[in-house]
Symmetry: C2
């Protein structure tokens, strides 16, 4: 209920803020450039609309942790929507996320994102690299716009957290690209990679929200930890669904991570078992018609249970961290709801 | 003399600072990633060494404008190398410049840079995109490291100037890529493009140096203006040499901008003349054996003189701006020397 209510208020405000920041690119010679970014954000061109925008999870996490850790100093302030102050930094995180998606799509040669042509597919690789770069530059512009709303030391502190997360993101991306050509990966390699690719930015969202909201250091650390485990749990669940989820199993078996050859947790764990699955994997690419059998084989080797248990443990750690952060008010309730929704996907 | 002396002190300090910042990427799983960036910087791999590092013009401009606009508050401080305080922000500019070079090389499909294989040619396009991204992230890390050395408001002010320059850089890059497919370009399109691609970052170097050095607002503006005209003059001279320079004319006529079909100032001005050159251009790509004749044709149509005069005017504006900034001491002298060297290249 709290989340639904706050979603209704925050999501439109996030879109408005993102549009305001992208408008810095508008100009007589750069309208087409602006529109490339607006296309990726889901606002312009074929297939634009609600389905195309993404869930805006990162800015929601920033606004909710900010509001949940903020202590109002006056009664009027308690009634006002204090989270509005954190909108530029919330937008900053969404822009960083989208910068990484635009470049990711080029790096992976992905033709589609959310059912629409990717930027590089539509405008070519050179422009798409530049669209990603502009997204990242706008993220930094958004961040520094908070300097009229928070003490400069806090803005700089937030900036350092964000830069560190971006460096981890790019290190994770390096690993991800390198891993494609490696056949000697172990599970520790997996944790390093998703620690950077998935968890770093989410943990920065919750930590920055808490820092700007004025949480004390132990709470900041609990919020950070919440974002970190949320990211890891989400990714492990994604890996689980990539093999045993509905769309991976029934009908679209080509969407199985087995066919894609993705170095996901269950696959690496299966390889470490050195059993029938590992022997089949060593023989070459998995075909779509083997998906049913091999996913059962993995389950028989204990990999399904291991993946599920890992996901459950990480989910518990995320919820425990959030509890010790002790988030307040409606935003605090909404954070628990958001975590539940993100961590109980079935497909 | 002043420049030679300060180059001897500053250039090694800049390299050390850059190496320190790149070392944030070192780690058990990211050593190869670190080495990709170190290769591009000219420190590692085949062909590394002095020839491969580039001239470090941007960080030199930052350190010199900083020192030339700084008023020492004590005698001891006057003797000390005050410019050392500006090293992280100097490194920030060099990293931004190199981020744009790494991505540029992918966008232009360039195989070589300073006689060595480009990053994308060596490690593939996906890794090279990520190397450029990491360069840009490290630039922001370097910027925020100045927060222990300058008041936070100044760091944020510098950050805003840098972000604005990066947005102009990326808008200029958008234009550059778009222009390749356009045949209706006018000279105003050219100025917009190089204003972003070449002048924006240089003017940010000199402005940030002046802001951190404590120059008053009129001087900050003069320094900014100096960097701006320096960039434009440098680019126009580059365009001049691209047609009438030694290597474009004698021997390597394949290196002529005429053969590359580059939308440079003389070419756009020649097209605007609507004469014999424009008619030949409209017929299709220029061949190497036409270079001698067509560069004379352009000269006969007044384009050579126009380009030279434009370059001279911009050079004058740069020097006038620097004079009104009134740079002090040895660093001030070195700035005049650096401008003279940059603006009197012959090849």
């Amino acid at each position: 209920m709290s989340l639904q209510n706050l979603n209704g208020l925050m999501l439109p405000a996030i879109e408005m803020e993102l549009k305001r920041i992208l408008s810095y690119l508008e100009g007589p010679r750069t309208q087409v450039f602006h529109d490339m970014l607006a296309y990726h954000m889901g606002w312009k061109g074929e297939g634009s609309g609600k389905e195309a925008t993404g869930k805006r999870i990162r800015p929601m996490l920033v606004l909710l942790t900010y509001a949940a850790s903020y202590t109002p100093t006056t009664k009027t302030e308690a009634d006002a929507e204090v989270w509005e102050r954190a909108l530029p930094v919330a937008a900053c995180f969404e822009l960083i996320h989208n910068f990484s998606l635009v470049h990711d799509d080029i790096q992976d040669s992905s033709d589609l994102r959310r059912g629409r042509l990717t930027v590089w597919k539509k405008w070519g690789m050179p422009q798409a690299i530049n669209v990603g770069d502009a997204m990242f530059i706008l993220a930094h512009i958004a961040l520094l716009e908070t300097k009229d709303r928070f003490p400069p030391e806090k803005v700089l502190h937030a900036g350092s957290i964000i830069n560190e997360a971006c460096l981890a993101l790019s290190s994770g991306q390096f690993m991800d690209i390198s891993y494609e050509k490696r056949n000697n990966l172990v599970i520790e390699d997996y944790w390093s990679m998703i620690g950077g690719k998935t968890a770093a930015l989410l943990s920065a969202c919750t930590k920055v929200g808490a820092v700007l909201g004025g949480a004390d250091e132990p709470s900041q650390e609990s919020y950070r930890s919440f974002g970190h485990y949320l990211g890891l749990a989400f990714q492990v669940q994604d890996d689980y669904l990539g093999i045993w989820g509905d769309s991976a199993q029934t009908g679209k078996s080509t969407e199985s991570d087995l066919v894609a050859g993705k170095k996901s947790l269950p696959i690496l764990y299966g390889l470490a078992k050195n059993g029938a699955f590992a022997r089949r994997w060593a023989e070459g690419p998995i075909q779509a018609n083997e998906v049913g059998f091999l996913s059962e084989q993995l389950a028989a080797e204990g990999v399904k249970l291991f993946t599920q248990e890992t996901s459950d443990q990480l989910t518990d750690l995320a919820i425990q961290s959030l509890r010790s952060a002790d988030p307040q008010g409606e935003a605090g309730e909404a954070l628990f709801e958001l975590a539940q929704i993100l961590l109980s996907r079935k497909a």
